[in-house]
């Protein structure tokens, strides 16, 4: 082959064989070193990612520490007090309570189903509102906490997880115990005399409400089509069961007027009359549904617990429970229940307060609180609240349809 390169008519001198400029080599070396460091760091990220997933994979991921005592402090002491003394006139004492000295199934059944009705401990009658722990504690946890309270203040007979499992299977579908009298009649007749139960309020739901909730009407889509057949909610769709009736109807009014922002709920709320909003509120306020919430935002549950119970005054955050009631059960009419709420919803609402999307808070309290919470604090407190047992509904009302709640 012939090289046709012109060899004789060079018109301008060129530097032959220009090499690789030194800066190019330096840049290449610097980038290569950076790349190796990046790849090495890769390993650490994978380890952290795995530990986050294994945290999330634990069935009840709150590490409560020392067995029954730890569970008691985390779950019960807010109301019953760490020493079991209760709160005069509001929460029955555990110390020397006849219910703890009775047959072991009594305490287990109360833990599993909660109480909603009058109960006598010693000489005092209390209006009992104890939540059900069936959906948030395992059989083993329930056995440990039952043993802890019975050994501390009642009998010393040991309860096993298998025993709890048997008790759980005994009344799979029932709601809360209707006060001390039903417990005495069903479980242990040797209990001291108990006040008469509250008359059953929830029999017979207005078929119009049931139709509205389950099938919708006009432009209003059925509530149940997103919030679930029992108002249990899911993902960022809030749980409605057990929220104060007035709170629900106020929110519907806010959606309708546009002072609370949500495209879908605005359509629904505008299609409902004031009367319908109130009826729907009453319906959900009386609905008793096991918790289907679980932590899902990688939140630090210990931090969340501190925020909920004590707040963080250094940053101007009051305890959630100081307004939303002990155990986050809500205070009618204005403060919604937080317990057992889905974390994506709670965190998203807190973020919305901070972003000033909401404008319906009395004195902008929630805006101020949310402004003081960091991103990780929002996720921490939302995840913690999801581990709490659901609010015991104010009065009994049976759900319209089947009881099984998809988790």
């Amino acid at each position: 082959m012939t090289d046709l390169r012109p060899s004789d008519d060079e018109f301008e001198p060129y530097e032959e064989d220009r090499g690789i400029p030194l800066p190019v080599s330096w840049i290449a070396i610097a980038l290569a070193l950076w790349g190796i460091v990046m790849l090495y760091h890769n390993n650490r990220s994978v380890m952290i990612g795995r530990s986050e997933r294994s945290e999330a994979a634990k069935p009840q991921s709150r590490d409560v520490g020392a067995g029954g005592a730890g569970i008691f402090l985390a779950r019960c002491a807010t109301c019953h007090q760490p020493n079991g003394s209760g709160v005069a006139g509001a929460v029955p004492p555990l110390a020397s309570s006849p219910f703890l000295k009775a047959k072991p199934e009594v305490v287990v059944q109360i833990l599993l189903h909660g109480i909603d009705g009058p109960i006598r401990v010693g000489d005092d009658v209390f209006d009992g509102h104890m939540p059900s722990f069936a959906s948030v504690l395992s059989d083993d946890d329930l056995a440990q906490v039952a043993n802890h309270v019975r050994k501390g203040w009642g009998a010393s007979q040991t309860i096993s997880a298998a025993f709890v499992a048997g008790q759980r299977a005994r009344f799979p579908d029932r709601g809360a115990w209707n006060g001390g009298s039903e417990i005495a009649a069903t479980l242990d007749p040797t209990l001291p005399p108990q006040p008469a139960p509250r008359p059953d309020a929830g029999t017979g739901i207005d078929p119009a409400v049931a139709g509205l909730v389950q099938h919708g009407s006009g432009d209003a889509w059925a509530c149940a089509s997103c919030h679930g057949s029992q108002g249990q909610g899911r993902a960022n769709v809030p749980r409605l069961a057990g929220l104060p009736a007035a709170y629900i109807s106020a929110q519907l009014a806010a959606f309708a007027s546009g002072s609370r922002r949500d495209d879908t709920m605005t359509v629904v709320a505008r299609a409902l009359s004031q009367n319908q909003r109130e009826t729907v509120g009453n319906y959900y306020a009386g609905l008793r549904t096991p918790s289907t919430a679980r932590p899902s935002l990688d939140g630090d549950l210990e931090r969340g617990e501190i925020l909920a119970l004590q707040g963080d005054w250094k940053h101007g955050v009051p305890a959630c429970f100081s307004c939303h009631g002990p155990s986050g059960f809500g205070v009618a009419p204005g403060f919604p229940a937080l317990a057992a709420q889905h974390p994506a919803y709670t965190a998203d609402q807190l973020a919305a307060w901070r972003g000033k999307v909401h404008r319906a808070s009395p004195n902008d309290v929630m805006n101020m609180v949310a402004n003081s919470l960091s991103d990780s604090d929002r996720r921490a407190v939302a995840d913690f609240l999801a581990t709490l047992p659901p609010v015991p509904a104010a009065h009994r009302q049976e759900p319209v349809h089947g009881r099984s709640v998809a988790r």
């Binding site: 986050e52 994979a57 432009d219 359509v267 990688d298 991103d375």
Partner: protein, 204 residues
């Protein structure tokens, strides 16, 4: 650099190395993981709906891969837990997407399970969200004088529906909604799942 054969062979060898690193080895790693426990294969109806999702090009505006909480607020928006490789064991074509002109849809079935909502929104997205720039899929519906037995009648809010007759969803629309309702990846992720943990940072 004056010989064609060595040049071609070396060029193809480099491509083979890239294929090994980006396709073969990650594939072995991903395929070693069983489907996420609780993940259901699609039913025939859901698969038909998925085909409509594919053919309408929904993937060009909607991702299906929530990020981790260390990276973004996907979890707080209700889009779901961080996506892992085994969530897609039944997906072909994959629909991970690279654009979020609209929200992520990995868990749309969990956070918006309402068929009537989806049908109205598909017919005219702006009947629900005035700000939406999603195309209307009105051609998946038909207007009839009156509904025949078995017809799924769709009601469009805010007066955005047809002025006369009843609006009936065609089977493609019903199947598409069935697919959207099936998108639910809320099951717990195993610790040894594969995903890009590059943003993971220890908070505690």
């Amino acid at each position: 650099m004056n010989r064609i054969l060595p040049l071609s062979i070396l060029a193809l060898a480099i491509l083979a190395l890239a294929t090994l690193m980006l396709v073969v080895v990650p594939g072995m790693q991903i395929n070693a993981q069983p489907a996420t426990p609780g993940l259901q294969p699609y039913t025939a109806i859901q698969l038909r709906g998925r085909q409509t999702y594919v053919s309408m090009g929904c993937v060009y505006c909607h991702s299906q891969q929530p990020r981790s909480t260390d990276q973004g607020p996907d979890g707080e928006r209700g889009w779901g837990r961080p996506a892992i490789a085994s969530d897609y064991a039944y997906d072909s074509p994959h629909l991970l997407g690279t654009m979020r002109t609209g929200p992520d849809l990995s868990n749309i079935g969990a956070r918006l399970p309402n068929q009537a909502w989806h049908l109205a929104h598909l017919y005219q997205p702006r009947s629900v969200s005035a700000w939406s720039i999603m195309p209307a899929y009105s051609f998946l519906f038909e207007v009839k004088e009156r509904a025949a037995p078995g017809d799924v009648v769709v009601r469009i809010p805010n007066g955005r529906g047809p002025k006369h007759g009843v609006l009936v969803a065609k089977p493609e629309a019903i199947d598409l909604v069935a697919y959207l309702q099936s998108l639910d990846r809320t099951m717990v992720a195993p610790a040894h799942a594969e995903r890009d943990d590059g943003y993971a940072k220890s908070e505690r």
